[in-house]
């Protein structure tokens, strides 16, 4: 904050981000930006570890890469998590909340809560990425879920040779780290340009990761291309919206735009005389930026990519992406709506109502007829995005904290559920068709029971985290005057419960197929990923109060 005001007084365009204006300011003395390294340490550690991972892949011998990458990734994430805890303990989430990085990033309760969640999700994600006991070993080498050599043509000569050589793609670890780094920035971004850059930083690695499946590579590559094309399209929305908002307010800073919207700041820049204060620019620009974020959370009508990408991507990537993207994108959406556009809530609330209702219903209804477990979970994630939007619409402190809690609860259920999906396999790799899951409860009662716990949590059955989260979100929405939304949400939950329970019925009350899949015995990696999922699901379901309080304390944005 202070940095920004200094620059403004030094002659830069008021409110425009200091880093850029300083560079553009002709003749002015170059002023060193002040960066609060301590406050930003979680992100810096993760990005540093990611860069280190790139170096390892470039210079370390092939044999040593896997171990080194795993070590760097886990240590980096754990250190960043420790930094988040340290910041939260020092009050950075509550009393000491501030804007850091010369106005670029907020270090406040929601940011730290979501960063902590994202780092834990990242750690569990690394566990599933590093699993090497599920695929049959290729010519003596243990391999993971990722393509032997991504650059080779599917089914071509290069691929055959790479598989024979037992190569693995250890680049996935730095890619994941970059994605986590971008996601850490995303909910903390405090101006529209940082938001955009964070979006790209985490999206591009995800596009790549989606293309890296070892099995069914064509499907995987198709998913990646679709995701990339549509993602680029939505980024364009976001960027265009940013431009329009700048035109309206003369600044890209969240608080700056909010001040212009509320009328406390006047715009003096003569260049913007034509556009400044034009409400159409504000409304359209705001809508476009929100749409860019709605794409990432998978809300209707920007959800079409979700099932295709979730199905095509390697399952560990799907799990990570489903959990982490949602956390990051909802964090950014909350900040945008609560910090930038609260003055417009009578404009955006009705529209978001519509989006939330459509999202809940479409996700729940279309999921009914799905036959592939990954697509089913994809539609389920759409429905959950709708439930989360209900909490966002509450426009209250409870709304923020309930969404935070829901995100934490939901991401671990999702990670666990997709980790279970990686274990049910037949000769062709993962057996994702639902018919193959018939009678799983007889063959592997433990695994089926664990999956049933996740499904019950998705359905929001009491004593699971899903219930606590849904209850918190709906309560906040009802208190925020969105009673109709809650009724529709509960109806959508009822519809959704049908297909979750159908899978449970299928697993426990159907005869197993003769040529059914087998359940692979995972290493300690996937086992711990699933175990963490179950523990979090049950603990947050049975004793949610501590975490609800934590989310409640974290539910205040710094402006």
């Amino acid at each position: 904050m202070t940095g920004m005001i200094d620059v403004a007084s030094a002659g830069g365009a008021p409110g425009v981000h200091s880093l850029w204006t300083v560079a553009a300011g002709a003749g002015d003395k170059l002023q060193a930006p002040s960066i609060e390294y301590g406050k930003l340490s979680p992100t810096l550690i993760v990005l540093g570890a990611a860069a280190l991972g790139v170096l390892i892949d470039a210079f370390a011998p092939r044999r040593a890469r896997y171990g080194a990458q795993l070590f760097v990734a886990l240590v980096g994430l754990a250190a960043a998590f420790a930094a988040v805890i340290g910041l939260a303990a020092s009050g950075a989430g509550t009393t000491e909340a501030q804007i850091a990085g010369m106005g670029a990033l907020a270090v406040d309760g929601p940011a730290l809560f979501l960063q902590g969640t994202l780092l834990l999700v990242g750690i569990v994600g690394v566990f599933t990425f590093a699993e090497r006991k599920l695929e049959p070993s290729a010519h003596g080498s243990r391999v993971d879920s990722f393509a032997a050599q991504p650059a080779s043509v599917p089914g071509g000569e290069g691929e055959t040779q790479a598989v024979k050589a037992g190569w693995t793609t250890t680049e996935v670890f730095p890619l994941l780290m970059f994605a986590v780094g971008g996601m850490l920035l995303f909910p903390a971004a405090n101006d529209l340009l940082t938001l955009f850059i964070a979006l790209e930083v985490f999206s591009l690695p995800l596009y790549l990761l989606c293309a890296l499946a070892r099995r069914r590579r064509l499907l995987s590559q198709e998913a990646a291309v679709k995701y990339f094309l549509l993602g680029a399209f939505s980024s364009a929305f976001l960027l265009f919206g940013t431009a329009l908002l700048y035109g309206y307010a003369g600044t890209v800073s969240y608080s700056g735009i909010a001040r212009v919207v509320s009328g406390t700041d006047a715009i003096s820049d003569p260049v913007l005389a034509q556009t400044a204060g034009n409400d159409a620019l504000l409304l359209i620009g705001g809508a476009l930026v929100v749409m860019g974020l709605l794409f990432k959370v998978g809300a209707v009508p920007f959800h079409m990519w979700t099932p295709d990408v979730y199905q095509g991507a390697p399952t560990p990537v799907t799990g990570f992406m489903a959990a982490a993207t949602k956390v990051a994108a909802f964090g950014a959406l909350l900040r945008l709506l609560y910090v930038v556009l609260p003055g417009l809530r009578w404009d955006w609330r009705p529209v978001m109502w519509g989006v939330a209702i459509l999202t809940m219903l479409a996700g729940a209804i279309v999921a009914i007829t799905q036959t592939d477990i990954k697509r089913l979970l994809a539609y389920s994630s759409i429905a959950h995005a709708g439930f989360l939007l209900a909490g966002v619409i509450a426009t209250s402190k409870d709304g923020i904290s309930s969404v935070l809690f829901y995100l934490g609860a939901y991401s671990f259920v999702t990670l666990g559920a997709f980790a279970v999906v990686t274990l049910v396999r037949d000769a062709g790799g993962e057996a994702t068709h639902l018919s193959k899951w018939a009678g799983l409860g007889r063959r592997s009662p433990l695994l089926a029971a664990v999956f049933a716990v996740f499904l019950l949590a998705f359905a929001g059955i009491p004593l699971t985290s899903g219930f606590a989260g849904k209850f918190a979100v709906f309560k906040a929405a009802a208190e925020g005057g969105a009673g109709v939304l809650v009724v529709i949400g509960v109806l959508a939950s009822a519809i959704a419960a049908f297909f979750y329970l159908r899978v449970i019925v299928l697993m426990f009350f159907s005869e197993p197929q003769a040529d059914g899949p087998s359940v692979a015995v995972p290493s300690v990696m996937t086992t711990s990923a699933i175990a963490i999922g179950v523990v979090v699901t049950v603990v947050l379901g049975v004793a949610p109060q501590y975490f609800l309080d934590l989310a409640g304390q974290a539910g205040v944005f710094v402006r």
């Binding site: 094309l229 809508a287 079409m304 209804i365 009914i368």
Partner: protein, 645 residues
């Protein structure tokens, strides 16, 4: 200390049930010991209570807050006042004797440990019922008694008849339980609480309509547990349980719960004369009903069961009279506890010596073979018919007097009914006595199939060579409790009557008023003795002078109806069972066609919608992009529209 009263037998039940086989050899002694410990605690509390002033004798003890919700406070708290104390001593005292008796009676039963666990559970539940300081906790004990009775009546569950009887008792009791639940709901809505003290002290301020509703619901509850018309049908079948269980249910626990409930809620009934009138009617009807059924039964236990129903009818009637009757109801309850327990244990002793034969027509002349049983049973008999000087005489005489004291036409009717009941009681009990202990030794001859009741299956032994039983006196462990109870049967009434000591003891809890009897007490006593003589004489003429046929004669229409428990089961079957079946069938039909139709229709329409929406997901990125673009256009338009309107 008060909590221990409940806790000790509960601990016994838990230890015995969870302890497993290693307690098979010693468990029954542990259970008996714990019952005795509970009695000793009760006695100590009683002694310390006697040391207090009459008004400050009630003790309270709160264990913990059970349901601490704002505006809905229920405590795990006990109240021990004179009324509870009376019950505690009866329950634990008679209960301990029955435990002791059961040690002998159940000696060869393979599931003996479980039996004693249930007995302890029964005691614990009943103690909780009488010690609770609020209606909700009372309800817990109430249900516990229901559970324990279910387990014990169906203890020999390998017999289908026992399993059915247990289920019947449980189901009929549920009807009453619903009444109690509703009564508690009504109390909560009326008074905002269900603790005894505030409810009973505020009862005067509530409207009479509310009090009547609560009172009738409480009466329904009492009818269920105490086997009063119209919920009496389970009691006869409950004889399928082992005989000590019958003694426990009929004397010390379970059936007395209804009387306790009405007496405890006296303040509510005092404010609702209509409800009181219904209570009195129920008591009077049951009094005659049970007595008539008792006259016709040849099964010794069922005859006694009819008698219990009738005697509880006396108590309910007395309780319905209000403050002039409460103390007498409880007094009769206690004396009845002694002599009915003694009678049942005696009946069990007879069965024990007669190869579990229960048909009195197959008894006869047993006094020579079972002298102790004969004497103790005989004393119990004299007590129940109200032989002057024995306990039943005092307590029943008081009720008859109070019935007349009700005043007006009602008083005359009630007095007449109670006198008639006394005569019938004398008749059927004399019949039991004569058929069992006097006359020809009918068991020496093989039974022949009955021409009168061809639907009765011939007993198993008729098919082979008949081996007559060898009646013998029961072991000491069984006779000692009977002797102790016989002492109670003889002396308890006189003790209570002396100087109105019992009435004075209960007065702080139940209040007491003298009735204004239109006839003098002496006249009532004389009439009672006349009724007694008439009943005994009639029975003697019928069963003492003439040989008792080994097979039941066909009998008059009334006799046949009474044998079928005055058609109660037929009534229940026609009205409730078939009515219920029809109702269920029609509901099932509605459920299948209408409810399921709606549900399935909804599901099908969502499924269809899902299938159609799914086609939008065609896999082409270009279509997705168009959908995004279209969506964006709509959202922007909507946003602008919001601003415009």
């Amino acid at each position: 200390m008060i909590g221990l009263l409940v806790g000790v037998p509960l601990l016994g039940a838990a230890v015995l049930l969870l302890g497993g086989r290693r307690l098979d050899r010693s468990g029954h002694w542990l259970a008996t010991l714990l019952a005795a410990v509970s009695f000793v605690i009760g006695a100590v509390l009683f002694a310390s209570m006697l040391g207090e002033d009459a008004e400050s004798r009630a003790m309270h003890s709160k264990l913990f807050s059970w349901v601490p919700v704002e505006g809905f406070q229920a405590d795990m708290a006990f109240q021990l006042d004179q009324l509870s104390m009376t019950f505690v001593l009866l329950i634990t005292g008679v209960g301990t004797l029955i435990h002791l008796y059961s040690v002998g009676y159940m000696e060869h039963d393979p599931k003996r440990r479980r039996f004693f666990a249930y007995l302890n559970l029964f005691l614990a539940a009943m103690l909780l019922l009488v010690l609770a300081d609020n209606f909700l906790l009372l309800y817990v004990g109430w249900e516990g008694v229901g559970l324990a009775s279910y387990l014990l009546i169906g203890f020999w569950q390998h017999k289908p008849s026992a399993a059915t009887a247990a289920k019947k008792a449980f189901l009929v009791n549920r009807v009453g339980d619903a009444g109690l639940a509703i009564a508690i709901f009504l109390m909560f809505t009326t008074f905002g609480t269900f603790a005894f003290a505030p409810v009973l002290s505020a009862a005067g301020e509530a409207s009479e309509g509310k009090l009547t509703a609560i009172g009738l619901m409480l009466l329904l509850a009492a009818c269920g547990k105490s086997a009063q018309v119209p919920l009496q049908s389970w009691l006869g079948d409950a004889m399928e349980g082992p005989t000590p269980v019958s003694a426990l249910i009929h004397a010390a626990t379970m059936v007395t719960a209804g009387v306790y409930l009405i007496t405890r809620s006296g303040a509510i009934f005092n404010g609702a004369p209509d409800a009181q009138l219904v209570v009195v009617i129920v008591g009077a009807v049951t009094l005659l009903f049970g007595a008539i059924v008792g006259c016709a039964k040849d099964d010794i236990k069922k005859a006694l069961a009819g008698s219990t129903m009738s005697q509880i009818g006396y108590m309910i009637l007395a309780a319905g009279l209000g403050p002039i009757g409460y103390a007498f109801a409880i007094m009769h309850l206690v004396t009845h506890g002694f002599f009915k327990a003694g009678l049942f244990l005696g009946a069990g002793s007879v069965m024990h010596g007669m190869n579990d034969e229960v048909d009195m027509r197959r008894y006869g002349g047993l006094r020579k073979h079972m002298p102790v049983t004969f004497v103790t049973f005989g004393l119990g008999y004299l007590a129940i018919i109200g032989f002057p000087g024995l306990s039943g005489f005092f307590s029943k005489d008081q009720i008859i007097e109070a019935a007349f004291g009700k005043g007006g036409t009602e008083g005359w009717i009630l007095g007449a009914v109670t006198l008639l009941g006394a005569a019938i009681t004398a008749y059927y009990m004399t019949r039991v006595m004569l058929m069992t202990f006097f006359g020809e030794e009918r068991w020496r001859k093989a039974p022949t199939p009955s021409p009168a009741e061809p639907d009765v299956e011939p007993a198993a032994e008729t098919r082979g060579a008949y081996a007559p039983p060898h009646p013998h006196e029961s072991p000491k462990i069984m006779t000692i409790p009977m002797i102790v109870l016989a002492f109670g049967s003889v002396f308890a009434g006189g003790l209570f009557k002396a100087g109105e000591s019992f009435v004075g003891w209960l007065e702080p809890v139940t209040q007491f008023e003298h009735g204004h009897s239109p006839v003098s007490a002496t006249a009532v006593t004389a009439a009672t003795i006349v009724a007694l003589v008439l009943g005994v004489g009639a029975a003697y003429l019928q069963y003492g002078r003439k040989p008792v046929p080994a097979l039941a004669p066909r009998g008059s229409l009334l006799t046949r109806a009474a044998r079928r428990d005055l058609l109660q089961d037929d009534f229940n079957h026609v009205v409730l069972v078939s009515g219920g079946t029809h109702l269920t069938r029609s509901l099932v039909y509605v459920d299948n066609k209408v409810v399921d139709g709606a549900v399935n229709g909804t599901a099908a329409s969502f499924g269809g919608l899902s299938g159609r929406l799914r086609r939008l997901q065609n896999g082409f990125a270009r279509s997705y992009a168009v959908s995004m673009f279209g969506g964006a256009a709509v959202l922007i338009a909507a946003t602008l529209l919001m601003r415009a309107v």
